[in-house]
Symmetry: C2
Subunit: 84 residues, 2 copies
Amino acid sequence: MPRADDVEDQTRKARKHLATNLIVMRREKGWSQEDLALEAGLHRTFVAHVERGARNISLDNIERLAGVLGVETYELLVPFSGEK
Amino acid sequence: MPRADDVEDQTRKARKHLATNLIVMRREKGWSQEDLALEAGLHRTFVAHVERGARNISLDNIERLAGVLGVETYELLVPFSGEK
């Protein structure tokens, strides 16, 4: 029986959705990772890790990224449809 | 000029949306905070704090809560419409 602690090792779909949306939306603005990091007041390395799904980002920081990208926080977590 | 560090003190809309959705969805299941915490493998106090918007929860834990509530992670952050 899987324990709740294993959940994050099983899927982490949310991290992947966030990573894809971040990359797509950042590029639409013509921003580098460093540009996005500067705008959001975060470290470039942190942003790079989030874009690889390697970091368990907090809600406040997701909201901060959404704010500078001009979208609602939940939009960063919607599965990427590929259309736009 | 507001600094990025101030953003979390200004609005924290995302925390409020999450809190409202958690409470509504939990009650729809007839669960107490303790029930939800047990299902998600989290501490009851932690869930209580998140439902008050007093806690900066991580994405992995939001995903965990969404999983036991049977919704997609982003659905916990969509502004609550009041309809259902």
